[in-house]
Protein backbone atom coordinates (compact mmCIF):
# COMPACT_ATOMS: atom_id res chain seq x y z
CA UNK A 1 0.00 0.00 0.00
CA UNK A 2 1.92 3.01 -1.19
CA UNK A 3 1.64 5.62 -3.90
CA UNK A 4 3.03 5.01 -7.38
CA UNK A 5 6.02 7.26 -7.91
CA UNK A 6 7.62 8.70 -11.02
CA UNK A 7 11.26 9.48 -11.63
CA UNK A 8 10.58 13.14 -10.80
CA UNK A 9 8.79 12.31 -7.51
CA UNK A 10 11.78 10.29 -6.39
CA UNK A 11 14.20 12.99 -7.50
CA UNK A 12 12.21 15.62 -5.58
CA UNK A 13 12.46 13.56 -2.37
CA UNK A 14 16.12 12.76 -3.09
CA UNK A 15 16.78 16.47 -3.23
CA UNK A 16 14.86 17.10 0.02
CA UNK A 17 16.54 14.22 1.86
CA UNK A 18 19.99 15.43 0.85
CA UNK A 19 19.01 19.00 1.60
CA UNK A 20 17.84 17.99 5.09
CA UNK A 21 21.04 16.09 5.66
CA UNK A 22 23.14 19.03 4.50
CA UNK A 23 21.14 21.38 6.71
CA UNK A 24 21.56 19.12 9.76
CA UNK A 25 25.24 18.44 9.28
CA UNK A 26 26.60 21.66 7.77
CA UNK A 27 24.19 24.56 8.23
CA UNK A 28 22.54 23.86 11.62
CA UNK A 29 25.87 23.54 13.53
CA UNK A 30 26.67 27.06 12.33
CA UNK A 31 24.04 28.39 14.71
CA UNK A 32 26.11 27.34 17.72
CA UNK A 33 29.15 29.02 16.19
CA UNK A 34 27.21 32.22 15.51
CA UNK A 35 25.83 32.19 19.06
CA UNK A 36 29.25 31.66 20.63
CA UNK A 37 31.23 34.01 18.41
CA UNK A 38 28.99 37.00 17.85
CA UNK A 39 25.50 36.73 19.34
CA UNK A 40 26.22 35.97 22.98
CA UNK A 41 29.19 38.40 23.23
CA UNK A 42 27.01 41.29 22.04
CA UNK A 43 24.22 40.32 24.45
CA UNK A 44 26.70 40.13 27.34
CA UNK A 45 28.24 43.48 26.43
CA UNK A 46 24.86 45.16 26.37
CA UNK A 47 23.31 43.50 29.44
CA UNK A 48 26.21 42.41 31.57
CA UNK A 49 25.17 38.72 31.61
CA UNK A 50 24.44 35.93 29.12
CA UNK A 51 20.83 35.12 28.12
CA UNK A 52 19.02 33.71 31.15
CA UNK A 53 16.18 31.87 29.40
CA UNK A 54 15.53 29.95 26.19
CA UNK A 55 13.35 32.86 25.05
CA UNK A 56 16.25 35.28 25.53
CA UNK A 57 18.49 33.05 23.40
CA UNK A 58 15.82 33.15 20.72
CA UNK A 59 15.54 36.92 20.93
CA UNK A 60 19.31 37.26 20.74
CA UNK A 61 19.54 34.92 17.72
CA UNK A 62 16.58 36.44 15.86
CA UNK A 63 18.73 39.06 14.11
CA UNK A 64 21.66 36.79 13.32
CA UNK A 65 22.05 36.36 9.52
CA UNK A 66 23.09 32.71 9.72
CA UNK A 67 20.20 31.76 11.99
CA UNK A 68 17.76 33.66 9.78
CA UNK A 69 18.96 31.87 6.68
CA UNK A 70 18.93 28.46 8.32
CA UNK A 71 15.41 29.06 9.66
CA UNK A 72 14.04 30.40 6.39
CA UNK A 73 15.54 27.49 4.43
CA UNK A 74 14.29 24.97 6.98
CA UNK A 75 10.78 26.33 6.72
CA UNK A 76 11.07 26.19 2.89
CA UNK A 77 12.13 22.55 3.17
CA UNK A 78 9.08 21.71 5.31
CA UNK A 79 6.76 23.36 2.81
CA UNK A 80 8.43 21.79 -0.22
CA UNK A 81 8.22 18.37 1.39
CA UNK A 82 4.45 18.85 1.76
CA UNK A 83 4.07 20.14 -1.76
CA UNK A 84 6.09 17.28 -3.22
CA UNK A 85 4.04 14.72 -1.27
CA UNK A 86 0.73 16.30 -2.19
CA UNK A 87 1.58 16.54 -5.88
CA UNK A 88 2.47 12.86 -5.74
CA UNK A 89 -0.62 11.57 -3.89
CA UNK A 90 -3.42 13.92 -4.94
CA UNK A 91 -3.05 13.11 -8.62
CA UNK A 92 -3.69 9.44 -7.77
CA UNK A 93 -6.07 9.95 -4.83
CA UNK A 94 -8.77 7.81 -6.42
CA UNK A 95 -6.58 4.86 -7.27
CA UNK A 96 -4.98 4.97 -3.81
CA UNK A 97 -8.43 4.93 -2.25
CA UNK A 98 -9.48 2.01 -4.46
CA UNK A 99 -6.31 0.09 -3.59
CA UNK A 100 -6.90 0.67 0.15
CA UNK A 101 -10.49 -0.54 -0.20
CA UNK A 102 -9.40 -3.64 -2.08
CA UNK A 103 -6.61 -4.57 0.33
CA UNK A 104 -8.75 -3.74 3.36
CA UNK A 105 -11.68 -5.84 2.20
CA UNK A 106 -9.77 -9.09 2.73
CA UNK A 107 -9.66 -8.34 6.48
CA UNK A 108 -12.57 -5.94 6.94
CA UNK A 109 -12.91 -6.61 10.68
CA UNK A 110 -9.51 -5.01 11.19
CA UNK A 111 -10.84 -1.51 10.55
CA UNK A 112 -13.45 0.19 12.71
CA UNK A 113 -14.30 3.76 11.83
CA UNK A 114 -16.60 5.84 13.97
CA UNK A 115 -18.08 8.90 12.24
CA UNK A 116 -19.14 10.20 15.66
CA UNK A 117 -15.50 10.84 16.57
CA UNK A 118 -14.81 14.54 16.10
CA UNK A 119 -11.47 16.29 15.87
CA UNK A 120 -10.93 18.28 19.10
CA UNK A 121 -10.32 22.01 18.76
CA UNK A 122 -6.75 21.84 19.97
CA UNK A 123 -6.08 19.66 16.91
CA UNK A 124 -8.20 21.41 14.30
CA UNK A 125 -6.90 24.93 15.05
CA UNK A 126 -3.49 24.47 13.47
CA UNK A 127 -2.33 22.01 10.82
CA UNK A 128 0.18 19.72 12.54
CA UNK A 129 3.81 20.23 11.48
CA UNK A 130 2.74 22.31 8.48
CA UNK A 131 0.78 19.48 6.85
CA UNK A 132 -1.95 21.26 4.88
CA UNK A 133 -5.21 19.69 6.07
CA UNK A 134 -3.36 17.90 8.86
CA UNK A 135 -4.14 14.17 9.26
CA UNK A 136 -7.85 14.60 8.67
CA UNK A 137 -8.60 16.38 5.40
CA UNK A 138 -10.64 14.24 3.03
CA UNK A 139 -11.04 15.28 -0.60
CA UNK A 140 -13.12 12.28 -1.69
CA UNK A 141 -15.04 9.40 -0.08
CA UNK A 142 -12.82 7.03 1.87
CA UNK A 143 -9.85 9.27 1.13
CA UNK A 144 -6.39 8.06 2.17
CA UNK A 145 -4.33 10.82 0.53
CA UNK A 146 -3.30 12.53 3.80
CA UNK A 147 -1.87 9.22 5.01
CA UNK A 148 -0.21 8.38 1.69
CA UNK A 149 1.46 11.79 1.77
CA UNK A 150 2.62 11.29 5.36
CA UNK A 151 4.03 7.87 4.48
CA UNK A 152 5.73 9.00 1.27
CA UNK A 153 7.42 12.07 2.73
CA UNK A 154 8.55 10.85 6.11
CA UNK A 155 11.54 9.03 4.72
CA UNK A 156 12.82 12.29 3.22
CA UNK A 157 12.28 14.16 6.50
CA UNK A 158 14.04 11.56 8.61
CA UNK A 159 16.73 10.70 6.02
CA UNK A 160 16.54 7.00 6.75
CA UNK A 161 17.11 7.26 10.52
CA UNK A 162 13.74 5.61 11.25
CA UNK A 163 14.43 2.66 8.92
CA UNK A 164 13.23 1.53 5.53
CA UNK A 165 9.63 1.06 6.74
CA UNK A 166 9.79 3.99 9.19
CA UNK A 167 9.28 1.48 11.98
CA UNK A 168 12.50 2.09 13.95
CA UNK A 169 10.67 3.27 17.06
CA UNK A 170 8.30 0.30 17.10
CA UNK A 171 11.09 -2.17 16.49
CA UNK A 172 13.14 -0.46 19.20
CA UNK A 173 10.19 -0.71 21.59
CA UNK A 174 9.64 -4.42 20.85
CA UNK A 175 13.36 -5.00 21.37
CA UNK A 176 13.32 -3.09 24.66
CA UNK A 177 10.35 -5.14 25.83
CA UNK A 178 12.03 -8.42 24.92
CA UNK A 179 15.16 -7.38 26.81
CA UNK A 180 13.27 -6.07 29.82
CA UNK A 181 10.92 -9.05 30.10
CA UNK A 182 12.45 -11.85 27.98
CA UNK A 183 9.78 -14.49 28.53
CA UNK A 184 6.76 -12.21 28.71
CA UNK A 185 4.13 -12.36 25.97
CA UNK A 186 1.54 -9.59 26.18
CA UNK A 187 -1.90 -10.78 25.09
CA UNK A 188 -3.56 -7.42 24.40
CA UNK A 189 -1.54 -4.48 23.08
CA UNK A 190 -2.78 -0.91 22.63
CA UNK A 191 -1.03 1.66 20.40
CA UNK A 192 -2.21 5.21 21.11
CA UNK A 193 -2.16 7.73 18.24
CA UNK A 194 -1.01 5.05 15.81
CA UNK A 195 -1.10 7.15 12.62
CA UNK A 196 -0.52 4.85 9.65
CA UNK A 197 0.74 2.13 11.99
CA UNK A 198 4.46 2.53 11.22
CA UNK A 199 5.20 1.53 14.80
CA UNK A 200 2.20 -0.76 15.29
CA UNK A 201 3.28 -3.36 12.74
CA UNK A 202 6.58 -4.22 14.49
CA UNK A 203 4.75 -4.99 17.77
CA UNK A 204 2.19 -7.09 15.91
CA UNK A 205 5.09 -8.94 14.29
CA UNK A 206 7.02 -9.39 17.53
CA UNK A 207 3.92 -10.80 19.27
CA UNK A 208 1.95 -12.63 16.55
CA UNK A 209 -0.36 -14.27 19.12
CA UNK A 210 -1.31 -10.93 20.68
CA UNK A 211 -4.37 -8.90 19.75
CA UNK A 212 -3.18 -5.41 18.85
CA UNK A 213 -5.56 -2.46 18.92
CA UNK A 214 -4.33 0.75 17.26
CA UNK A 215 -6.33 3.91 17.84
CA UNK A 216 -6.20 7.27 16.13
CA UNK A 217 -8.52 10.22 15.50
CA UNK A 218 -7.93 10.41 11.76
CA UNK A 219 -9.91 8.17 9.42
CA UNK A 220 -7.53 8.59 6.43
CA UNK A 221 -4.59 7.38 8.54
CA UNK A 222 -6.53 4.36 9.82
CA UNK A 223 -7.81 3.32 6.39
CA UNK A 224 -4.35 3.54 4.93
CA UNK A 225 -2.70 1.93 7.96
CA UNK A 226 -5.14 -0.96 7.84
CA UNK A 227 -4.54 -1.54 4.12
CA UNK A 228 -0.80 -1.17 4.60
CA UNK A 229 -0.72 -3.74 7.41
CA UNK A 230 -2.88 -6.20 5.46
CA UNK A 231 -0.58 -5.69 2.48
CA UNK A 232 2.36 -6.58 4.72
CA UNK A 233 0.65 -9.81 5.74
CA UNK A 234 -0.32 -8.68 9.26
CA UNK A 235 -3.71 -9.83 10.54
CA UNK A 236 -3.59 -9.23 14.30
CA UNK A 237 -4.10 -5.45 14.34
CA UNK A 238 -7.43 -3.75 14.76
CA UNK A 239 -7.33 -0.13 13.58
CA UNK A 240 -9.97 1.79 15.47
CA UNK A 241 -11.09 5.40 15.22
CA UNK A 242 -11.32 6.82 18.72
CA UNK A 243 -10.20 9.76 20.82
CA UNK A 244 -7.51 8.51 23.21
CA UNK A 245 -8.86 10.91 25.86
CA UNK A 246 -11.86 8.62 26.32
CA UNK A 247 -11.56 5.12 24.94
CA UNK A 248 -14.41 2.61 24.54
CA UNK A 249 -12.53 -0.21 26.29
CA UNK A 250 -12.96 -1.93 29.63
CA UNK A 251 -10.67 -1.08 32.53
CA UNK A 252 -7.52 -3.19 32.76
CA UNK A 253 -8.12 -4.75 29.35
CA UNK A 254 -4.59 -4.31 27.90
CA UNK A 255 -1.30 -5.56 29.25
CA UNK A 256 0.97 -3.48 27.01
CA UNK A 257 0.06 0.11 26.17
CA UNK A 258 2.38 2.44 24.27
CA UNK A 259 2.64 5.55 22.17
CA UNK A 260 5.40 6.78 19.85
CA UNK A 261 5.92 10.50 19.10
CA UNK A 262 2.26 11.08 19.86
CA UNK A 263 2.01 13.00 23.12
CA UNK A 264 3.71 16.18 21.81
CA UNK A 265 0.77 16.66 19.45
CA UNK A 266 -1.73 16.84 22.30
CA UNK A 267 -2.71 19.76 24.52
CA UNK A 268 -1.77 19.63 28.18
CA UNK A 269 -5.34 18.83 29.21
CA UNK A 270 -5.54 16.09 26.57
CA UNK A 271 -2.17 14.72 27.66
CA UNK A 272 -3.45 14.26 31.21
CA UNK A 273 -6.62 12.61 29.97
CA UNK A 274 -4.69 10.27 27.67
CA UNK A 275 -2.31 9.17 30.40
CA UNK A 276 -5.38 8.71 32.59
CA UNK A 277 -6.91 6.39 30.02
CA UNK A 278 -3.65 4.48 29.55
CA UNK A 279 -3.51 3.98 33.31
CA UNK A 280 -7.15 2.92 33.57
CA UNK A 281 -6.81 0.41 30.74
CA UNK A 282 -3.59 -1.18 31.98
CA UNK A 283 -4.06 -4.67 33.42
CA UNK A 284 -2.32 -5.84 36.58
CA UNK A 285 1.29 -6.68 35.79
CA UNK A 286 1.14 -4.77 32.52
CA UNK A 287 3.43 -2.02 31.22
CA UNK A 288 2.79 1.33 29.64
CA UNK A 289 5.57 3.20 27.83
CA UNK A 290 5.57 6.42 25.83
CA UNK A 291 8.32 7.54 23.43
CA UNK A 292 9.06 11.21 22.94
CA UNK A 293 11.87 13.60 22.20
CA UNK A 294 13.93 14.22 25.35
CA UNK A 295 12.72 16.69 27.98
CA UNK A 296 14.49 20.06 28.17
CA UNK A 297 15.57 19.63 31.78
CA UNK A 298 19.35 19.28 32.00
CA UNK A 299 19.94 20.79 28.55
CA UNK A 300 21.81 24.02 27.90
CA UNK A 301 19.62 27.00 27.04
CA UNK A 302 21.08 26.97 23.54
CA UNK A 303 20.11 23.35 22.91
CA UNK A 304 16.62 24.01 24.31
CA UNK A 305 16.34 26.94 21.92
CA UNK A 306 17.37 24.81 18.94
CA UNK A 307 14.95 22.02 19.84
CA UNK A 308 12.19 24.55 20.36
CA UNK A 309 12.30 25.75 16.73
CA UNK A 310 9.47 23.40 15.71
CA UNK A 311 7.14 24.88 18.29
CA UNK A 312 7.45 28.36 16.84
CA UNK A 313 7.96 27.70 13.15
CA UNK A 314 6.71 24.22 12.31
CA UNK A 315 3.20 24.22 13.80
CA UNK A 316 4.03 22.17 16.88
CA UNK A 317 2.15 24.33 19.41
CA UNK A 318 2.43 21.89 22.33
CA UNK A 319 6.09 21.00 21.75
CA UNK A 320 7.62 23.38 24.34
CA UNK A 321 5.11 22.66 27.10
CA UNK A 322 5.46 18.89 26.70
CA UNK A 323 9.24 19.04 26.88
CA UNK A 324 9.03 21.12 30.03
CA UNK A 325 6.51 18.84 31.72
CA UNK A 326 7.87 16.28 34.14
CA UNK A 327 6.00 13.39 32.53
CA UNK A 328 6.70 10.71 35.16
CA UNK A 329 4.95 12.94 37.73
CA UNK A 330 1.76 12.71 35.69
CA UNK A 331 1.82 8.93 36.17
CA UNK A 332 2.52 9.43 39.87
CA UNK A 333 -0.69 11.51 39.97
CA UNK A 334 -2.48 8.54 38.41
CA UNK A 335 -1.66 6.45 41.43
CA UNK A 336 1.47 4.65 40.30
CA UNK A 337 4.04 4.24 43.05
CA UNK A 338 7.37 5.97 42.45
CA UNK A 339 9.16 2.61 42.17
CA UNK A 340 6.75 1.46 39.43
CA UNK A 341 7.54 4.47 37.26
CA UNK A 342 10.58 4.48 34.99
CA UNK A 343 12.43 6.59 32.45
CA UNK A 344 14.65 5.11 29.76
CA UNK A 345 15.99 5.58 26.23
CA UNK A 346 14.81 3.71 23.15
CA UNK A 347 17.05 3.49 20.10
CA UNK A 348 15.62 3.14 16.62
CA UNK A 349 16.25 -0.37 15.35
CA UNK A 350 16.86 -0.08 11.63
CA UNK A 351 18.21 -2.14 8.75
CA UNK A 352 21.97 -2.56 8.41
CA UNK A 353 22.23 -0.34 5.35
CA UNK A 354 20.36 2.58 6.94
CA UNK A 355 22.27 5.44 8.57
CA UNK A 356 22.60 5.25 12.35
CA UNK A 357 21.90 8.08 14.71
CA UNK A 358 25.01 9.92 15.79
CA UNK A 359 26.26 13.38 16.64
CA UNK A 360 26.87 14.06 12.96
CA UNK A 361 23.46 12.95 11.76
CA UNK A 362 21.09 14.12 14.47
CA UNK A 363 18.84 16.95 13.36
CA UNK A 364 17.41 18.53 16.51
CA UNK A 365 14.18 16.72 17.27
CA UNK A 366 14.51 14.20 14.47
CA UNK A 367 17.10 11.67 15.57
CA UNK A 368 16.39 7.95 15.88
CA UNK A 369 16.75 8.06 19.64
CA UNK A 370 13.92 8.68 22.05
CA UNK A 371 13.32 9.47 25.67
CA UNK A 372 10.73 7.10 27.10
CA UNK A 373 8.79 7.04 30.33
CA UNK A 374 6.24 4.64 31.64
CA UNK A 375 4.93 2.58 34.52
CA UNK A 376 4.31 -0.98 35.54
CA UNK A 377 0.90 -1.81 36.97
CA UNK A 378 1.89 -3.61 40.08
CA UNK A 379 -1.06 -4.10 42.39
CA UNK A 380 1.12 -4.12 45.46
CA UNK A 381 2.84 -0.85 44.57
CA UNK A 382 -0.02 1.02 43.01
Amino acid sequence: MSAAVTHDDIARFNFLANFNKFMATVVAPGNAVAFRERVEPVWVRERGEPPQTRGEVRRAMASDPHYRFWSALRRCGMEMRQQAGRSLVLRQAESLRDRARELGSSHAAGLQLDPAVTVPRYQSELDNHCMPGSYYAEYLDDDVSAAANYDAGMFATTTGLFGRFLDGAGRGTADWLQQTRPAWRPRRILDLGCGVGHNTVPLARAFPDAQVVAVDLAAPMLRYGHARAVGMGIDNIQFQQANAEGLPFEAQSFDFIYSTMFLHETSHAALRNILGEASRLLAEGGIQIHLEQPPYRGMTLFEQFMRDWDCHYNNEPFWSALHETHLPSLLRERGFAAESIFETEIHALVEEEMPKVGIETEDFGRGGLWYAFGAIADGAAK
Binding site: F15, Q83, A84, L126, P132
Partner: protein
Amino acid sequence: MNPQWLELVNAAASGKRPHFFGDADVDRLLAIVWAMAGELAVTRERLDTLERLLAERAVVQRTDLDAYRPDAEAARERGEWQMEYIARLLRVLQQELDALRATGAKASGD
Protein backbone atom coordinates in the same frame (compact mmCIF):
# COMPACT_ATOMS: atom_id res chain seq x y z
CA MET B 1 -3.11 17.92 -13.82
CA ASN B 2 -6.06 20.31 -13.76
CA PRO B 3 -5.75 23.76 -12.15
CA GLN B 4 -8.00 22.85 -9.20
CA TRP B 5 -5.78 19.95 -8.23
CA LEU B 6 -2.77 22.23 -8.52
CA GLU B 7 -4.30 24.66 -6.05
CA LEU B 8 -4.93 21.79 -3.67
CA VAL B 9 -1.38 20.54 -4.11
CA ASN B 10 -0.06 24.02 -3.30
CA ALA B 11 -2.34 24.60 -0.29
CA ALA B 12 -0.76 26.21 2.77
CA ALA B 13 -0.87 24.70 6.23
CA SER B 14 -3.07 26.73 8.55
CA GLY B 15 -1.23 29.19 10.77
CA LYS B 16 0.82 32.26 10.01
CA ARG B 17 3.82 31.78 7.73
CA PRO B 18 6.83 33.04 9.71
CA HIS B 19 9.37 35.39 8.20
CA PHE B 20 12.91 35.50 9.40
CA PHE B 21 14.50 38.34 7.44
CA GLY B 22 13.99 42.03 8.15
CA ASP B 23 11.95 42.27 4.98
CA ALA B 24 9.39 39.49 4.39
CA ASP B 25 9.97 39.86 0.64
CA VAL B 26 13.34 38.22 1.18
CA ASP B 27 11.61 35.17 2.68
CA ARG B 28 9.25 35.03 -0.29
CA LEU B 29 12.08 35.25 -2.73
CA LEU B 30 14.07 32.57 -0.96
CA ALA B 31 11.07 30.22 -1.10
CA ILE B 32 10.93 30.68 -4.87
CA VAL B 33 14.66 30.34 -5.37
CA TRP B 34 14.82 27.25 -3.21
CA ALA B 35 11.90 25.58 -4.96
CA MET B 36 13.72 26.30 -8.19
CA ALA B 37 16.88 24.74 -6.84
CA GLY B 38 14.84 21.63 -6.03
CA GLU B 39 13.33 21.43 -9.48
CA LEU B 40 16.72 21.94 -11.09
CA ALA B 41 17.97 18.94 -9.13
CA VAL B 42 14.96 16.94 -10.32
CA THR B 43 15.72 17.80 -13.93
CA ARG B 44 19.39 17.12 -13.51
CA GLU B 45 18.63 13.67 -12.10
CA ARG B 46 16.30 12.85 -14.98
CA LEU B 47 18.80 14.05 -17.52
CA ASP B 48 21.49 12.04 -15.87
CA THR B 49 19.36 8.87 -16.06
CA LEU B 50 18.59 9.57 -19.68
CA GLU B 51 22.16 10.24 -20.70
CA ARG B 52 23.36 7.10 -18.95
CA LEU B 53 20.70 4.94 -20.58
CA LEU B 54 21.34 6.41 -24.02
CA ALA B 55 25.06 5.97 -23.74
CA GLU B 56 24.62 2.44 -22.39
CA ARG B 57 22.43 1.47 -25.31
CA ALA B 58 24.16 3.62 -27.92
CA VAL B 59 20.77 4.92 -29.13
CA VAL B 60 21.07 8.69 -29.43
CA GLN B 61 24.03 10.91 -30.02
CA ARG B 62 24.34 14.44 -28.65
CA THR B 63 23.98 15.83 -32.17
CA ASP B 64 20.52 14.16 -32.41
CA LEU B 65 19.37 16.15 -29.35
CA ASP B 66 20.50 19.44 -30.84
CA ALA B 67 18.72 18.74 -34.10
CA TYR B 68 15.35 17.80 -32.52
CA ARG B 69 12.24 19.99 -33.20
CA PRO B 70 8.94 19.23 -31.36
CA ASP B 71 5.72 18.58 -33.31
CA ALA B 72 2.37 20.17 -32.26
CA GLU B 73 1.47 17.44 -29.73
CA ALA B 74 4.91 17.50 -28.15
CA ALA B 75 4.77 21.32 -27.99
CA ARG B 76 1.35 21.16 -26.25
CA GLU B 77 2.61 18.63 -23.71
CA ARG B 78 5.62 20.80 -23.02
CA GLY B 79 3.31 23.79 -22.46
CA GLU B 80 1.27 21.87 -19.88
CA TRP B 81 4.40 20.84 -18.11
CA GLN B 82 5.58 24.46 -17.99
CA MET B 83 2.30 25.51 -16.31
CA GLU B 84 2.65 22.91 -13.58
CA TYR B 85 6.29 23.86 -13.17
CA ILE B 86 5.55 27.55 -12.73
CA ALA B 87 2.69 26.87 -10.27
CA ARG B 88 5.10 24.87 -8.19
CA LEU B 89 7.61 27.71 -8.14
CA LEU B 90 5.07 30.42 -7.32
CA ARG B 91 3.40 28.42 -4.52
CA VAL B 92 3.86 31.12 -1.83
CA LEU B 93 2.13 33.78 -3.90
CA GLN B 94 -0.87 31.52 -4.46
CA GLN B 95 -1.07 30.68 -0.76
CA GLU B 96 -1.10 34.33 0.26
CA LEU B 97 -3.71 35.15 -2.36
CA ASP B 98 -5.88 32.25 -1.13
CA ALA B 99 -5.68 33.63 2.41
CA LEU B 100 -6.47 37.13 1.16
CA ARG B 101 -9.44 35.87 -0.83
CA ALA B 102 -10.71 33.94 2.20
CA THR B 103 -10.45 37.12 4.30
CA GLY B 104 -12.25 39.11 1.61
CA ALA B 105 -14.98 36.50 1.38
CA LYS B 106 -15.38 36.58 5.17
CA ALA B 107 -15.49 40.39 5.26
CA SER B 108 -18.09 40.60 2.50
CA GLY B 109 -20.16 37.98 4.28
CA ASP B 110 -20.20 35.22 1.65
